[in-house]
Each structure stands twice: as structure tokens, then as C-alpha cells.
Symmetry: C2
Subunit: 504 residues, 2 copies
């Protein structure tokens, strides 16, 4: 029997659901494989309409989805409404990308003489990999879960999806899958295009299944490693797209501390406590200069933290890990500078926590990610001190620099130091509040993700596609996008990019 | 002491070379990491010039390189001259790709209102991953070895390369590395941009080295598996681009057999024996229809094979494996239909071998790849018989169909059956003789490669790049390709692809 837990109270409710059996996982994976040709045959326009139908279905179910998710996650209706809008937006953005069509990377080299002799006609395009396993994340019950970007990008690419529901929000997962399934059905997608499984055994069985061709996962490094080990034992290794761990260091320069210390202190407090600090891009370590202007930032953050109320965390495991890791960080040399208020004893509620240390005292132990409303502030004394500390930084999704216009040299040297460590470099803002758009990206060197991964932004679709070339093929077997006269999408023809409608 | 062996005679010569020590591997990997910023700083034009200088240096050394390679591989001067031209061409093609610039996938989303609220300015581009380990292949001493496509594409991307010399052609490897190093130096590339290592221990140590960020390998499935296991034990898994095994099935339809059986028999003989059958794209299994027109194809191939002279294989290991696997295929149910002539007993010389079986008798054992001049011809009786046999096909780089214009239904159903199995589908030609161009691709589902891999064609560069995003960054820290006014390369601006020189 699967249970759901209200993190505000800790109260559990039995659901009329069981863990998925391995036999059922087999059936769902095979059904997904059978659905693949039909999903591909919808074509770009058909799949774009299906994605829009999913977005509509999610929004039509908004009231129930947000209510159920709020009960299961404690994230609050405002945040959950925004997140559901983001999830729907992601499906619509991929519909736009399908219509635009350059994600196919269509290319034609006509037959002809080459410096190495006569060359055949070659036509290249990306094709869907096949069924994808997606793992729902605890912290985004919509936008990184059943209705999340992995699902949207996989469906856009033409890959059916079998989703492992996160055990923190089983009912939200079920209701999301129902909405998605209804949306897909209304647009003529084959049955089995999306399926949902519950339970750890089902998850392990799923990613070992021969019909599964890629895995998208957002979660902890330890669980990611377990999944990767299962994949490595497969006869055919498949791509594992894992988003696993990220500290997201943030640097405040002396100039920025002097010019807008208060604003930064407030922004940083909001960024480390928003959504209870349960964001992969939460800044977990902030470098603040020594001296009175840096002192003032820390004092403001202390005051805000001390006045801050408790945050409901997503589940007991996360709440307990928060306490454990906070204690570890304190023991490793970052004493508590401020701690917020927690009323009552129900549920998985923790206070915001501000720890303080010196940059010169940083160690590997002090750069451990703590999921939840906690930040370590490290005071640094000059650029050398800072540069030495940055050498200890683990790889992250993001790094952030707050600097003033007249600090160009500092900004240049910080950029050089931070670029190799991360996938996104933010200036004078906060890494949380990720914009979803064409140029966006969500990855970084291991263990934040693997370096080439991205689960946010249009290019996320690239993870689920493979190149294919037809040589001297009759037009009847070619996808229409590679027909000689087709001109509705950007294509590379004899080496030159040609836009839709361009004369050649 | 490293020795080199002449495969025509089996005679060995000691070289003034030792296996690279692990300490030296460490030094070379660290030197490569130190070279990376300088190589990146050359910029696209600087790297394009460096690649052209390498191409020039390889061609300037042509006479010596071909002579040394012929002594070490027995491939013959005509083939080796052509291969050296291909290797030089590959460097020049990547120079062209660098100047064209769309490989960077530059994208800009301007700050502004979005359906989800105000969005920051985002600028995305691909950056080099870092030092790459490349393994030279035995069968292409130039084009898939030290001077091969992996090296060219990695250098183009801005990644230094540490290359494991194949033990079948150590001197060719050394001379190639010298030419490349001289070419790079003349164009101002940093010292350590390319390095060469010898020996298995060095290879294992190299791919476990923390500074190595990706591995390119063309070779056997068994060696590939060993390398992958080493990579899986790293703290940070890195991409492994392995091209491992490929049967390359070829189908002759009844119409093609009737229309041009003789031509196909001759073409197929040339394709399976060219370069001694030591090509990853060699057709290893041909489906020929039953009946008199199919009989005639087989008879012509038998006659050509029986008259065919011996082929010098690259080394003793390959020669012995050829005999062993040929015996295994015969035992598994494909008796010898014809075998060519071998004069004398010196060196690693084998005859061309034609085995024959029925499509209905095919088994996993009969689809084993045999590296060398061997082909299995399977006779099939109608489309159902053929379709059932194709179900047993292992994944391959290529599949080939010979069919006539009036067989559209057959062609359509064969395409549907073959597409999931391969990366390239060839019509009325042969899979060998791979065109190097923008639309080309060299990959297929595991174990031919991993599905998303390609080591031939311009998109090979994508393997060694990672996405990076700057958010609200001052122009001073942005690469010039992301400056607001830059217009020399294709960029995606606010979702729309913009070509160089286009007005917006």
C-alpha cells in the first residue's frame, strides 16, 4: 500500500495504490516501445498539438493539482501555481521548437565531386532514441516531475516516457499523469505514450529494461550513482542524464558590498530560503568581503534569518538530512550565526540557518550541499584569499558574482576562475528563479550533472535524439524534412545553413 | 622496447622507444590541461589556421608517412595516399566549420517580460570540455589514428589531445605526431596541445586521469568494454565515444538481382575485400534472394573470390582472429562457398572467404563480425523470410539496400525494419568508402557505437563541447561571438535563427 504524507503535519494517508510489479514494468516498457512509431508518425505538427493539449489539460486540472500538491509538498499555493504555469509553458515551448524545426539538425550534402573523389547524396537528421525513463524529483512536483521538462522534451523528440513517481508526492504524480494522458489521447497520440510506475524495485527494473533507451533523473548524488551502476551493468549502456548535486557559490565583491550591501543581503536571504531552500540552484555558500561593508551584509542576513519563520520541508528524509548536514557543517568549522524561529513541533519544519566561517578555513567538508534553508557565509580578505578558496569549490550548476561596473579586472579574473566549475554564470542576480527559454541551460561538470547535459531550455530535446543518415535514398523513404523541395525548416545544404523561405 | 612488425613478412624491428610510464602520462595530461586555455584563446580563426597548418604538415610529410605506414600496415601506397589525403581534408573541413561558426550553437535571449514574469538576459554557447584521450585504430593509420577525425574534431573544439598510439603502427604514430606538433607550433598553438603515449598501462592510466574529460576510441568491443569499466570507476564519469562492432547487413531485392546481379556481385566483392576487409563499414552479411537470379550473384561472387589473391592483414592478432572466427561461422552453419588463393607462408596473409547459408538458418552465432575479407551470403525466400532474419541482426553502423525503382513497397518495409538497427542506410551502393562531409555521420545503436556518437562528419565536434550560459553578464566577460553587435556567425536570437549579415 502506497501512503502519502502531509509534511506540514506528518500525517499519512493510505492510497488505493500499490508499488508497480516488475511484470507490469515490463508490460509498460514494451507498450511504450510499441507506441514509439505512432508517436513519431504524428510528425512535428502532430506532436506540437499533442504537447499543447497536454499544457491545456494540466491547466484545466490546475485547481485539483495545486491542492493535491500542496497537501503532499507543503510548498504553498502561490509557488505551486507558478510552477504549474511553468510546466504548462514548457510543453508549449517545445511545441514552438517542433514547429521551428531546427532541432532536427537537417542536413543535405548533394552527390558530386569532392576533393576525395565522387561523393554520394547524404541526408542527415535526428531521430528519436526510443522510450525514455524519467524520474520525478521531490522538490518540483510539476516542473521537474511527471509533468516536467524531461517528460516534455522526451515527448517532443518523439520518445514515449515511462515515469517513476516520486514517493513524496504519489497522488500529484497520479493526477498529473492522468491529465497528461488525457491531453495526449485528445491529440491522437498512441496509448502507452506515457506510463507511470511506483516504487524503488520498479525503478531499478525499468532502467535495466532493454526497451528503455535513456534515463532522465533529478535527485541526489547517492541515488544517481545507484542508477548509474544499474545502467553500467546493461548489455547496452544508455545515456544517463542526472542532475545530482550543486553548491552554487556566490561572490560579493568589495565594490558591490559597498554600493548595495543591504539589497544583496535581502536578495540572498530570499534566494537561500525561497521554497524552503529546496532548489538545485540555491546558493549554498556566499563569499563576503571582510571589513565593515561585508559586516553589514552579514548583520542584515543575521537579522533576517533570526526573524525568519520555519519552512516545511518536503519529507522526513529531507528534514532529517537537513539537521544532520547542518550539524556536520557546524562541526567542520562554520558556527551558527543566526537561526530562525520554529513554532510547534508538527511536521517536517526547520528554521532558516545562517552559518559563518572564514574563506581561509574552507575545506571539502564545508562545501557539502545542504538541501534546505541553509547558507554558509565565508568572509574573504582580498582576491588571493578568495581565489584560494574557489579552488576548493565542487562543480555546480551555477556560480554568481555581484560586482560593480568599475571592477572589470576583478570580474574578469572571477569569470576565469568560475567558468570551469559551473554551467551557468550569473551576474548581479540570483541563481534561483531559472528562466525557461531557448538559450537557457541547466547543467555543469559532474556531479552537478554530466557536462553535456541540460534539462532546462529548448536544447534539452537533444538528449533524446540520435543522428541518422540516408545515403542515395529514394525520396519515398525520406522524412519530409529531407525532401529536396522542402523549405519549412532551417537546413544545412552543402555546408551552408538555409533558413525557411530563403532562395537558393 | 617497442617493436614494429611488417605484416607482409612478419619481421620485427626494435624501435628506440619505450612504453610511456604512468608518471609521464600524468605529466602529459597535466600539460594538456595547461595548454587548454591557450588553445581556446587562439579563437576560431586561430584554431582554423592551426588545423590548416596541420593538414599542410601532414601532406609535406606524405612521402615518409606513407612509406612508414605501408611497412607497418601492408595496406599499400594507393590506399595510404588516399587515406592521408582524407586525414588532411578532415583537418581542413573542421577549419571551415570553425569559420562558419554555427557549431557553437550561440544563442541569446534578451531580458524582458515572459509569460512567467521578467526574464534575465541569457547568452549560451558551447565551450571545450577539456583534454581528450584519443585511441588510434589499427585499420586506419592516418584517418582514424593519430592524425584522425577524433584528433581533428577535438582540436577544432579547443580541446588538447593525448593520443594512445596503436601498437600495430608505432612509427607511423610517432611520425604523424611529429608532423601535427610541427604544424600546431607553426600556428602558435601552445606546447602540449598534442601528446602521444605508448602501451596498455599508459592507456588505462590516461583515461582514469582527472584532467581527461572525454575518450574517443575505435576498436574492438572487448577492448571498448575494458575502457568503459575504467571510466565507470572514475569519480566523475566522462563521455566514452567508442566505435566497437558492426556487421553492416546488405539486402539485394529480387528486382535488383534481376536487373543488375552481375554489377552487384562485383561491387559486393570489391566492398568486402577492399583494404583486406578491415573496415568498420565492411558488409559482413548479404541477403540474396533464392532463385536463378540470386544464384547467379552467388556464382559470380564465388568465381571472384576463388580467383582472389591473399590479403595482408594488419597484425598477427587480427590474422589469427580471422581464422578463428571464420571457423566458428562455418561450424555455426555457413559452409565455405569459395576461398581465394594464398601464395607462400610469410606474414599475416589470408584469402578472401565467401560463406553461404540460408536466411532461415541464421542465428546469433552467424551474425558475429569477422574483421577481414569474409562475407556470409544468406539466401532468403520472400519478404517474410527476410524480415524474420533481420530480426536477428545486431546493431550496426550501416545497412544497405539494393532495389529497383518499381519496388517501392519493398523499399519502404525494408527501411522500416532497418532504420532502428543502424545509423546510416545506404541505397544502391556500398557502405564502405565513407564520404567525409557536413551531413555525414558514423554511429549507430550499441555496440556499433553509442547511439548519439559520430566520429565522421562535421558534427563530430559536438562530442567535445559543453553548453555554458552567461546570465546578465557584462560584455567584457563574454566571448566575442555573444557580443550584442557580433554578426559573423549564425546565432539564435530570442528564439529565431539569424544568419551572418542578416538585418534584424
Amino acid at each position: 500500500m502506497i501512503t502519502t504524507t502531509n509534511p506540514r503535519t506528518g500525517a499519512t494517508t493510505d492510497l488505493d495504490l500499490l508499488d508497480t510489479t516488475t511484470a507490469e514494468v515490463d508490460r509498460l516498457a514494451e507498450r511504450a516501445a510499441q507506441a514509439a512509431p505512432g508517436l513519431a508518425a504524428l510528425g512535428r505538427e502532430g506532436r506540437a498539438r499533442a504537447l499543447e493539449a497536454v499544457a491545456d489539460a494540466l491547466e484545466a486540472a490546475r485547481e485539483e493539482l495545486v491542492r493535491v500538491a500542496d497537501d503532499e509538498t507543503g510548498l504553498g499555493e502561490a509557488r505551486l501555481n507558478g510552477e504549474l504555469s511553468r510546466a504548462a509553458f514548457q510543453f508549449r515551448l517545445f511545441a514552438e521548437a517542433l514547429r521551428e524545426g531546427s532541432y532536427l539538425e537537417a542536413a543535405i550534402d548533394h552527390a558530386g565531386d569532392t576533393p576525395l573523389g565522387p561523393g554520394p547524396d547524404l541526408r542527415r537528421m535526428l531521430l528519436p532514441l526510443g522510450p525514455v525513463a524519467v524520474f520525478g524529483a521531490s522538490n518540483f512536483p510539476f516542473a521537474f516531475s511527471v509533468a516536467g521538462g524531461d517528460t516534455a522534451s522526451a515527448l517532443a523528440s518523439g520518445c514515449p516516457v515511462v515515469i517513476k513517481a516520486h514517493d513524496s508526492h504519489p497522488l500529484t504524480s497520479l493526477k498529473s499523469a492522468e491529465a497528461i494522458t488525457a491531453g495526449l489521447a485528445s491529440a491522437g497520440a498512441p496509448e502507452g505514450t506515457v506510463a507511470l510506475v511506483f516504487g524503488q524495485e520498479a525503478a531499478g527494473h525499468l532502467i535495466a529494461h532493454p526497451e528503455i533507451k535513456a534515463v532522465g533523473f533529478t535527485g541526489s548524488l547517492s541515488t544517481g550513482r545507484i542508477l548509474l551502476d544499474i545502467i553500467n551493468r546493461r548489455e547496452d549502456p544508455i545515456p544517463f542524464y542526472g542532475e545530482l548535486s550543486s553548491l552554487n557559490p556566490l561572490v560579493v565583491t568589495p565594490g558591490a558590498a559597498a554600493a548595495r550591501g543591504d539589497e544583496i543581503a535581502k536578495g540572498l536571504f530570499g534566494s537561500y530560503t525561497g521554497s524552503g531552500g529546496q532548489l538545485c540552484t540555491k546558493p549554498g555558500l556566499a563569499f563576503v568581503p571582510t571589513g565593515p561593508e561585508g559586516d553589514r551584509i552579514v548583520e542584515t542576513m543575521q537579522a533576517l534569518t533570526a526573524e525568519g519563520g520555519g519552512h516545511v520541508l518536503l519529507n522526513q528524509r529531507i528534514s532529517q538530512a537537513f539537521d544532520t548536514i547542518a550539524d556536520r557543517l557546524v562541526s567542520a568549522g562554520a558556527p551558527v550565526a543566526a537561526r530562525g524561529q520554529v513554532d510547534g513541533a508538527d511536521g517536517f519544519v526547520v528554521p532558516p540557518v545562517l552559518l559563518a566561517t572564514q574563506a581561509s578555513d574552507l575545506s571539502a567538508e564545508l562545501t557539502e550541499e545542504c538541501f534546505g534553508p541553509l547558507i554558509v557565509v565565508a568572509r574573504y580578505d582580498g582576491e588571493k584569499d578568495l581565489a584560494a578558496a574557489l579552488e576548493l569549490m565542487p562543480h555546480s550548476l551555477t556560480a554568481t558574482v555581484h560586482a560593480e561596473d568599475d571592477e572589470a579586472d576583478t570580474v574578469a579574473s572571477l569569470s576565469r576562475l568560475l567558468e570551469p566549475l559551473v554551467g551557468r554564470l550569473v551576474f548581479n542576480g540570483y541563481p534561483t528563479g531559472v528562466r525557461v527559454s531557448w538559450a537557457q541551460h541547466h547543467g555543469g561538470p559532474w556531479p552537478s550533472t554530466n557536462s553535456q547535459h541540460t534539462s532546462v531550455g529548448v536544447t534539452a530535446i537533444r538528449r533524446f535524439l540520435r543522428p541518422f543518415v540516408w545515403q542515395n535514398a529514394p525520396e519515398s523513404v525520406l522524412p519530409e524534412e529531407l525532401h529536396e523541395g522542402y523549405s519549412a525548416i532551417p537546413r544545412r545544404i552543402d555546408g551552408a545553413l538555409v533558413l525557411p523561405g530563403s532562395a537558393r
